[in-house]
């Protein structure tokens, strides 16, 4: 939370957030903590019945990682908006890396706001989330 936001400009890259392989335990804990009890994420039988080879991570777990990318860069009180498209599923044991690049800086509602293009990419190059955040710089 020590980012010098005065130095932020278009093209500034956020320090990437590298996530350890997502375990089945993490999926179980996230199901309980998030209230998303869809069995497709925690029960391999349910996943197979729905045509998947195995369980896969909740999209919102990945989006929570995008949130961490932002809040480890600026205080959460600066976050104005966070959005994403879920472009591919995240298999269990995948290793996501979250990245962000400032693409514009505008004055909105009397404050300088940076729009940050966000992505999550797996080790094999698959992009799982493509999103955007808006943060106040001052």
């Amino acid at each position: 939370m020590t980012t010098d936001t005065a130095a932020v400009q278009v093209g500034t890259q956020l320090p990437p957030l590298v996530i350890a392989p997502i375990s089945r335990t993490t999926l179980a804990l996230f199901a309980g903590a998030s209230g998303d009890h869809n069995a497709i994420h925690i029960d391999i039988d349910a996943a197979r019945a729905a045509g998947f080879e195995d369980v896969f991570a909740h999209g919102m777990l990945s989006m929570a990682y995008l949130g961490r990318l932002i809040t480890s860069w600026v205080p959460q009180s600066r976050l104005r908006a966070l959005s994403t498209r879920f472009t591919s599923i995240t298999p269990v044991l995948a290793e996501p890396t979250c990245t962000g690049t400032v693409v514009s800086i505008d004055e909105i509602d009397g404050e300088q706001r940076a729009t940050i293009e966000l992505a999550i990419t797996l080790a094999d190059g698959t992009v799982t989330l493509a999103g955007e955040a808006v943060v106040a710089l001052v």
Binding site: G32, A50, G51, L61, T71, A81, F86
Partner: protein, 149 residues
């Protein structure tokens, strides 16, 4: 009963309590180690009234409180065929443990693609406190018809 019939479905206004233990559990599950999300003393030391809820925490409150999957199921949608297509949050202020918020939600739009093989439901919800907006959410669910079951 169908996904299309859910367009315009509005949840009754409800009250949502932000529980401290739940916030800490969520922070732990997402690997968040900043103690403002899990240690009350650290949170207060940083100027927060209580634990700070991570940005996407409110989605789970809404999902569970509204039983969105249950509503889909009750309307003939096989929830194992539902994928989350898009999600957006707009923030007006931070959410902390101990907050009591008012939740309203509605399926605002429905559309189909590929001759109905893919159906989309748009859901918008709002969290307010004393009539003031705290956070807004919009999600797009994708229903994959013809998926093996």
């Amino acid at each position: 009963m169908s996904a299309e019939s859910l367009k315009g479905y509005r949840w009754p206004e409800s009250t949502v309590d932000v529980e401290r233990g739940r916030v800490a559990m969520f922070a732990n599950a997402i690997g968040e180690t900043d103690p403002v999300y899990s240690d009350v003393e650290a949170a207060r030391g940083a100027g927060h009234p209580d634990l700070l809820a991570p940005p996407t925490f409110v989605f789970g409150l809404d999902l569970e409180h509204s039983d969105t999957l249950g509503v889909l199921e009750a309307n003939g949608v096989d929830v194992s065929s539902v994928l989350h297509g898009e999600q957006r949050f707009t923030y007006h202020r931070e959410v902390h443990a101990g907050d009591q918020l008012t939740l309203t939600a509605e399926f605002t739009d429905y559309f189909a693609k590929k001759n109905g093989a893919l159906e989309f439901l748009v859901r918008r919800s709002q969290l307010t406190s004393g009539g003031e907006l705290v956070a807004e959410m919009e999600s797009v669910s994708v229903i994959r018809n013809g998926a093996p079951s």
